[in-house]
């Protein structure tokens, strides 16, 4: 990042600095600083109100307990120890980690595959497919969950008819065993296009002459893709892993909506966010819910930092 401290024009308009005051910054720089502050202040105010204050409030709340008799009192880390010892909460965490651990690599592989095809122009009607694949991004998750609920409906859904037709009778996409795979399919449907477009634009920014040099070197296509293009778009892939991980850890809407098509599979603690929602909002245990939210945030930050660390190490090699 280029951060020039002072503009070249600064001396011309800088009044002599007042002796005695140990100010390094010129009046000019200060005036500019004030202007800059004025530009970012509106965002910072709302950001503080909506993000930082609630975060602080959540931490604060999580240290209290409300009892039926006796009211609210400070309870230290009692809520946290409840969360950390809750088998259901950790089951939910593991469930979303499994979900993300499968969904993200599979989706990125598909997205990279198609992004490469579009970038190379080795399939017909590339621009058309690109547009089609992006459509799900414009569909709210609630709506896509509803649509997929219909498609996967255990009694009437066309995908069940399909399974019946090819010999799998009494197949249930939304049964306990298949709920996660089904949600993986839905999430792949929702997000592949978006990831594909980002990878496509990243691939497009690989300089043309680098690829031409590889062609003149008689590099086979697969080697151009794997040894040249893939490493050159690694920053974009890492960013996508990041974004998708944060999203996957907060899995909520799909299971909540699918629960309406097949009751009994998605419990109140099925994912951490469902757990938080039912604890804090449905059951009114705000403080415990806040503690869960804090723990989830710590887990997400830990995973993100770990992947950043991984990136850092890879870069040094």
């Amino acid at each position: 990042m280029s951060e020039t401290a002072l503009r070249p024009s600064a001396p011309a308009v800088t009044p002599p600095s007042t002796p005695g005051k140990r100010r390094r910054r010129s009046a000019y720089a200060r005036r500019q600083g004030r202007a800059g502050l004025a530009f970012v202040t509106p965002f910072m105010i709302i950001f503080t109100l909506i993000m930082i204050a609630p975060l602080g409030y959540a931490v604060y709340q999580s240290l209290y307990t409300t009892k039926l008799i006796g009211g609210t009192s400070f309870s230290g880390f009692a809520n946290y120890s409840t969360v950390l010892q809750s088998g259901d909460f950790w089951d939910g965490v593991i469930r979303v980690i499994i979900f993300g651990g499968i969904q993200i690599p599979v989706m990125l592989a598909i997205a990279f595959f198609f992004a490469t095809i579009f970038d190379l122009g080795v399939a017909r009607w590339g621009p058309l497919f690109r547009a089609v694949y992006f459509i799900p991004f414009a569909v709210p998750i609630v709506v896509s969950s509803v649509m997929w609920g219909f498609l996967l409906d255990p009694a009437y859904g066309p995908f069940n008819h399909l399974m019946n037709a090819i010999g799998f009778h009494n197949f249930n996409w939304l049964s306990g065993n298949l709920m996660i795979p089904s949600i993986i399919i839905i999430a792949i449907w929702e997000w592949t296009g978006y990831n594909c477009i980002i990878l496509y634009t990243a691939l497009k920014s690989v300089p043309r002459d680098v690829i031409e040099a590889a062609i003149l070197d008689d590099t086979p296509l697969w080697r151009i893709i794997v040894r040249i293009k893939l490493p050159m778009v690694r920053p974009a892939i890492i960013m996508l892993v990041f974004i998708n991980t944060i999203g996957a850890m907060q899995l909520f809407i799909e299971p909540t909506i699918l629960n309406n098509y097949q009751a009994g599979v998605v419990t109140n603690t099925w994912t951490p966010v469902i757990d938080i929602y039912s604890t804090a909002i449905s059951n009114g245990q705000y403080q415990l819910g806040a503690a869960m939210a804090v723990v989830l945030a710590v887990i997400i930050v830990a995973i993100s930092v770990a992947s950043l660390g991984f990136r850092g190490r890879r870069r040094e090699q």
């Binding site: 800059g36 459509i135 497009k204 920053p235 809407i253």
Partner: protein, 316 residues
Amino acid sequence: MSAAAMNSQTRRERRRRERLVERDAAIPVELYGLKRGTVTALTTCCVLFALFTLAPVVWVIINSTKTQSNIFGSFGFWFASPFEFFHTFANLFRDIDGDGTYANWFLNTVLYSLSGGIGATVLAVLGGYGFARFEFRGSKAFFAIIIAGLLVPITLVAVPLYLAYAKVHLINSVWGMILPSMVVPVGLYLMRTYVELSIPRELIDAARIDGASELRIFLRIALPLMVPGLMTVLLLSVAGTWNNYILPLIIFSNNQLFPVTVGMGLWSQHAGNSGDANLYPLLVLGGLVTIVPMIALFALLQRYWRGGLLLGSVAN
């Protein structure tokens, strides 16, 4: 020929030229040394995934014309009579089972998305410019905090927001929905990147030497150059609010204030045991009506968001 017709003709001509130039700029496929049939095989892959992508959309379009019993009873990927589309469409304007009226929810969604999206864009444009082209005490720390905000799960904020709203009477207030929609850290990040790539420091310095005030420089010089990035942020933040589910779910208990997403969630919950209300056709058509404006918006503004998404990958 009218001016508009001429305009569209020149635009089409320009688009054609752009396509041809783009073709000249791409590496010819022959140079990759592909085997015969590779293009066909890969095109087939594309077609298969397109079918997968379009299946739910096609299903929704077809089934938005059906009665409840046909939705379940007839083959999902073909039409069945009677053609109930208009009947169902009329029902979108009625409160059919006491949950609320779709049309009302839809207007709420439009209100929240536009005001939240515009607010988010204004804040992101100002802030992105401020962080990209000024230095002040704490500017780096502030920016780092905002970037950290990208990592904070919405749910973590939603629960305490709910608690705080209860204190300041923002439960069941449209402001409780709009204000959080105005905080889009990604938008600010995109804007900052955009300014750094597209507005040279020298340009701003030149205006300063000419004696223009910072506000004037921003409005007259920077802002016009920021329009493409601004459109991307607007589109992404409108879409973000349009799709938002968990925040309105938590903060609204009054059905009159629901956006479409929460209303449809409620319907899908009640549809199974709503008796004669026949909510399933409404759910299907409601889904279709929800996605059409977004797809239209993305199609209309595609040259903006495509460039904008590129920023994200460049900046990282």
